[in-house]
Symmetry: C2
Subunit: 222 residues, 2 copies
């Protein structure tokens, strides 16, 4: 077995898989992507064996050892492949990055999901407001910097940029534009999406929006 | 200012503060504890300034720099005071510890809260079952080991042990005993609570149970 046998158990529409793909691309790590194809049906034996607790993608298999949960995977990648570090070496700066990582992980995707699963105008409006409130703190901490770390695209940028692949769907079903509310954050989205490691890792936004439309039909929302 | 000016913004009943106190004790770090006294009322200016996003204890002030969120704080402590490390040096073992840390953080306290906020027998029964399901995976990964890391009391043990201070309240209001379901996990609780760094950091279980009873009255549950 080669030293770095790297496989990623993945699903094309998962924003959590996309962020791992960005990290792997930033580190120039060659890997094999193994897609869970049957999104609505059963999960593969390999996934169930690799992540018995959560039974979710992404899972990184490094020399056949499974690492689960995207933020955990990206932390692992940064430690095992230390060139082009994603994190500052300062313990305090690292604690700030972990703080925002946790904030993003707990709030962004769930607040976005509340928009496209909302039923009726009032519920949609409330979900939209809550989502924009979540972004407010991110816009505030980004401020006038190019990236969350400062001048370099790093850990927090990677965690958030994966999730932005679903933003067009939130905007469509919530009836708003991120750029009308947070131009600095919107400029960060444009800036990061222009990066090759990001553009090659994120799914097409139109395809995601169609996918969300299909989920809404399945859930009986429209 | 001395090199290590350490303060902990804390609340006596918070299991998340207790785990930070265990970590500080394990590392022999002298600190000043600043208690939020007015639990039901307003929060102090110092807390609001130190943790404007979540406005929650615990906050560690290290040379006046705030570090928020207990797991983040403990990771920071282990990095800044490296003697008696809480984590393995192996990247894979660390990823396993972070995985269980995240599992504990997302599931244990919220599943426990569902028990003591449940109304009616059926809801209590469902919450109890869900809580025991959460513990099942922890019992499984602990297995026959003394500690989650193996032979040494470490990161995952500290994260969980703080939360166990509320277990007697869950047992009382859920009508079950952890030891009847998971004797190995119950033995781990006894083992860790016998440790001086833990016993000096955890609030009295009876006091916690009374506190939970008071919260139930406030919430109109009983």
């Amino acid at each position: 077995m080669a030293k770095d046998d790297v496989k990623l158990l993945s699903m094309w529409a998962s924003p959590f898989c996309m962020r791992v793909k960005v990290a792997l691309a930033e580190k120039d790590i060659a890997y094999e992507e193994i897609l869970e194809e049957n999104i609505m049906g059963g999960k593969t034996e390999l996934l169930l064996k690799s992540n018995p607790v959560h039974q979710q993608v992404p899972v990184l298999l490094h020399d056949n050892k499974p690492i689960c949960e995207s933020t955990n995977i990206i932390t692992y990648i940064d430690e095992v492949w230390p060139s082009k570090p994603l994190m500052s070496t300062c313990a305090y700066e690292k604690s700030r990055a972990r703080f925002w990582a946790d904030y993003i992980d707990r709030k962004v995707h769930s607040a976005g999901k509340a928009i496209w699963t909302a039923k009726g105008e009032e519920e949609v409006e409330a979900a939209k407001t809550a989502f924009l409130d979540v972004l407010m703190f991110l816009d505030g901490t980004l401020g006038d910097k190019d990236y969350f770390n400062g001048e370099t695209f790093g850990f927090v940028d990677i965690l958030l940029v994966g999730l932005t692949s679903w933003f067009p769907a939130y905007e469509k079903y919530g009836g708003f534009k991120v750029e009308d509310n947070y131009p600095k954050l919107a400029a960060w989205i444009t800036r990061t999406h222009a990066r090759e490691t990001v553009s090659e890792s994120l799914a097409n936004p139109e395809k995601i929006t169609n996918f969300v439309g299909m989920l809404r039909q399945m859930f009986g929302i429209e």
